[in-house]
Symmetry: C2
Subunit: 610 residues, 2 copies
Amino acid sequence: MDKVQEWNALAAQLAVDGIRASTEAGSGHPTSSLSAAHLLAVLYADHLRYDVSDPRNPANDRFVLSKGHASPLMYSVLKAIGAITDEQLMTYRRFGSPLEGHPAPVPGMAWIDVATGSLGQGLPIGLGMALAMKLDTNPARVWVLMGDSESAEGSVWETMANASFHGVDNLIAVLDMNRLGQRGPTMLQWDGDAYADRARAFGWLAIQVDGHDVAAIDRAYGEAEEAGRPVLIVARTEKGHGVSLVANQEGWHGKALSKEEAEQAIAELGGPRSMVITPPKPEARIAPPPTPWTFELPTYEEGIATRKAFGETLAAMAARPDLVVLDGEVSNSTHTEDFQRVAPDRFVELYIAEQCMAGVAVGLQALGKTVFAATFGAFLTRAYDFVRMAAVSRADLRLSGSHAGVSIGEDGPSQMALEDLAMMRAVHGSAVLYPADGNAAAKLTWAMAERPGISYIRTTRENTPKLYDASEEFPIGGSRVLRRSDADRATVVGAGVTVFEALKAADALDAEGVAVRVIDAYSVKPIDAETLRTALGETGTVVVVEDHWVEGGLGDAVLEALAAGGELSGRVIKLAVTGLPGSGTADELREAAGISAAAIAETVRGVPGT
Amino acid sequence: MDKVQEWNALAAQLAVDGIRASTEAGSGHPTSSLSAAHLLAVLYADHLRYDVSDPRNPANDRFVLSKGHASPLMYSVLKAIGAITDEQLMTYRRFGSPLEGHPAPVPGMAWIDVATGSLGQGLPIGLGMALAMKLDTNPARVWVLMGDSESAEGSVWETMANASFHGVDNLIAVLDMNRLGQRGPTMLQWDGDAYADRARAFGWLAIQVDGHDVAAIDRAYGEAEEAGRPVLIVARTEKGHGVSLVANQEGWHGKALSKEEAEQAIAELGGPRSMVITPPKPEARIAPPPTPWTFELPTYEEGIATRKAFGETLAAMAARPDLVVLDGEVSNSTHTEDFQRVAPDRFVELYIAEQCMAGVAVGLQALGKTVFAATFGAFLTRAYDFVRMAAVSRADLRLSGSHAGVSIGEDGPSQMALEDLAMMRAVHGSAVLYPADGNAAAKLTWAMAERPGISYIRTTRENTPKLYDASEEFPIGGSRVLRRSDADRATVVGAGVTVFEALKAADALDAEGVAVRVIDAYSVKPIDAETLRTALGETGTVVVVEDHWVEGGLGDAVLEALAAGGELSGRVIKLAVTGLPGSGTADELREAAGISAAAIAETVRGVPGT
């Protein structure tokens, strides 16, 4: 069998298996799989350098199925390369099967690096992988299969711009231009010139090809491999190709064929096959760099902004060779510039493109990097879908959001992170940290680097006084009790800037003979439930004060922890931002929001019995 | 004084006033204002058709300062057109002043339509305004001043694609290419050809101009006005132009000049001026269409998916002429296609570009439209920054998120909205609604249309049984008590799909002789605190069950409401999604998440005393 015959036969097998799996499941996207069967047949048979038995081999080329709904095709490929059995293929979409509706790196699915299914994410993730290879002078390549509909997502164009700007030459995107989106024709339908022109304007090489002509696909892949720059292959395809019932027909998106329809389609495609192919071998496995490294955390004897302590801690940790830091063009605000200064080769400026930044972070960590990404906390909202999906990817993603709350002052509400704690709490497995001073910030930044999963550190624009000695420890999940006596008549829980307001309020109340406990809940999630429950039990009243909307933040976290302890008894009062702030000084805005020391003291005075 | 002299003098006044205001405030962005002074001088003096005394006149052209940090320039323009006094200008960034750090339509700032300050939002908002004008056959135009840095945001390219696709000819974007971003050079610096090529590839007319040559600017504006398509004017400028200390210098982003520096700069610019100009008059005020309209809400006698009821309600309300519906290419999933079918001219398909969709919604409502925008709840995370900013814009924004929770089943976690309640609760002034059946969905969709501010309706993929008669009312902020007796030993609070699980659990417990109260908390925010407090007081235990992450959703809302009532006494148990779900049937996944009827019943059985 010559190459062309082999590729076509393999493509037919992938098509058939995609139909079989989705019909067996009773749902899925066979037509979106059919359009790309030839593209993946040629790729896996002769271009992707991939060791199936060692999918974590860093020398492997990487493949990202950005159009994650074409999962029947992906799993059919895994069968064809001998990664899974036909029996496993038939568990597609069943409860407990690793063959989920959209691919994800669940246990048993070692050949999938990242989760997809939210469109426009594969390309930024692919860029992150390509950058990781460059950092390691690893000659591997990244291939991304995109849908045409997803080119409407801005994250694609953020990445097109950043990839060419950063001179990446190992990223090849294949656009499956099958003309039909979920509910009808795409914006550009089969206008391949338009896609190509856009890619070229963004600095990419663009190649147009008939996506069902395997020899042409092979030539295009070969050209792309030698391009020396990022490449978009625009492949004109038919949705549902090869099955006359559905080919190029509207109304078949995301619909499995019935058993009878499937039988007919499979016959039309030449019946089931059981070819097993071996992709080209990657180069020899690259040894991980032998790198003993040590560093010393910065320590602070004076007040400092926690954002500055965060940046200096990154800089101190730069000795760690897997550490990579990303920023969204605000490195002099987030202070990642301190890292850039000492490790410019491992700092990636992604400009004002927060989605791309988060996707790049996911891609980098998939290849073993320890990644921090930073911008204003308010602008991380831009990347929420990526953060959500990073959790599905089981990714280790470390985010820093500066400029928290009304305390930023004059810049006004557009720049104030007031929903970041809520947003980051509602992410699977996340840690949400909010240090009050420089020493706590340094310790928590280090703790993030050591912690798998998704973590977030909220930092403050203004300088805050030194509160802790550099020797003190801040385990994730802990808290610090700053004032405590047996006579405490209430507890004030703060985090970040409001810890200082709480302490001032405690001093004022103390002068009036009212003792209050003060807790620094620097770990908003997981939160130190035991200390909080003890405090409620002993003092009867907990006042939570936060520079954040009243919904979803520290107050809700405290309530959740208290409720989880069983019978509730006592009073929990939330002080948080409820009115829309404007400009002003930090003190004016905290006062107006009712989260100042004066507001806390007044609240405690109003509690019956104090 | 000839035109050129007049424009230059006006530009110098704007430059001086921007410096005066920011130096007086001690913060702000004078250099980013200086680069665009000539561009706005020519625009306001001779191109923007604008009635200063009637800023809400729909016949006005609209101006959006997408680079919102150039607020000193914006307010200087407002002084020059006589909208504000010099004394008001000097209140810039002070607490209580309507001249906030970034422009927002606060009381006293009638000349600002929408808030800016998060970059990349002005263009999608401008597209929404342009579409509103088209719908009203209003010959007005929209002008958007963009920064060069913000072109890195994907939302800009989502909008470039959609604007040309929708054939808009009344949208002119002016890109202030001043070469310098916050922390150094932009990606493209002064490569005007690159910007122009990208715009052309996206179907726009691109014009390059020297942004300090007023005559050339005037010609470019004239050409743009006649273009018959969307136009990007790439204006080469200098950051800090006209002030030798800062012109084209790095390190001056976002820094006010000192008093001494300002004095010298003002002298260099020819000293203070007090020109007052009158922009060209708009056409006569367009009368609002005299449209008495009536409609009947759909009613349901059988079970239906709430997403379908939502779509049918939009269709029923189509008689309302100001109603416009947007979708992100999933209208057959969200069921906005039902509206499209009856009012295709007021349905706007924005393809898979959720940020653009949200921005367009804000632009449409700024010109008086009542807008609903829909996509999968999971993918609204993509638009969170826009939703956050819409609140700062005091916008009326109505969002619908379909495919909530693990209950979507086989598609898996990438498609499941599990953080949408948390996200939408943490938006200023929002309402968060989650109907259980078709009749409730119809009533709540209507209630959203009537409610100002930001509201969100969460809908369900699967059919749910009929629970309510069509005659029942569902006020926002209310709840429905579905089971109640004096013997209730616990209360189960659900919303949406979990209401049915709660009822099944109640039936099972009833058979065992355990009476439980069941509450449908269809209004998650504002929540019916009184009913919840009564329930806790009377039954001693509240079990909250939700198809959402345990953080930030219904459980936190219930706890907040209970805590706000004062002394807490009782038990609150949250059942929610904690593990990462996979694929499976809705029932399998609810069971696995511990939010099924069986899990609820088991939880109630475990409560001491029941």
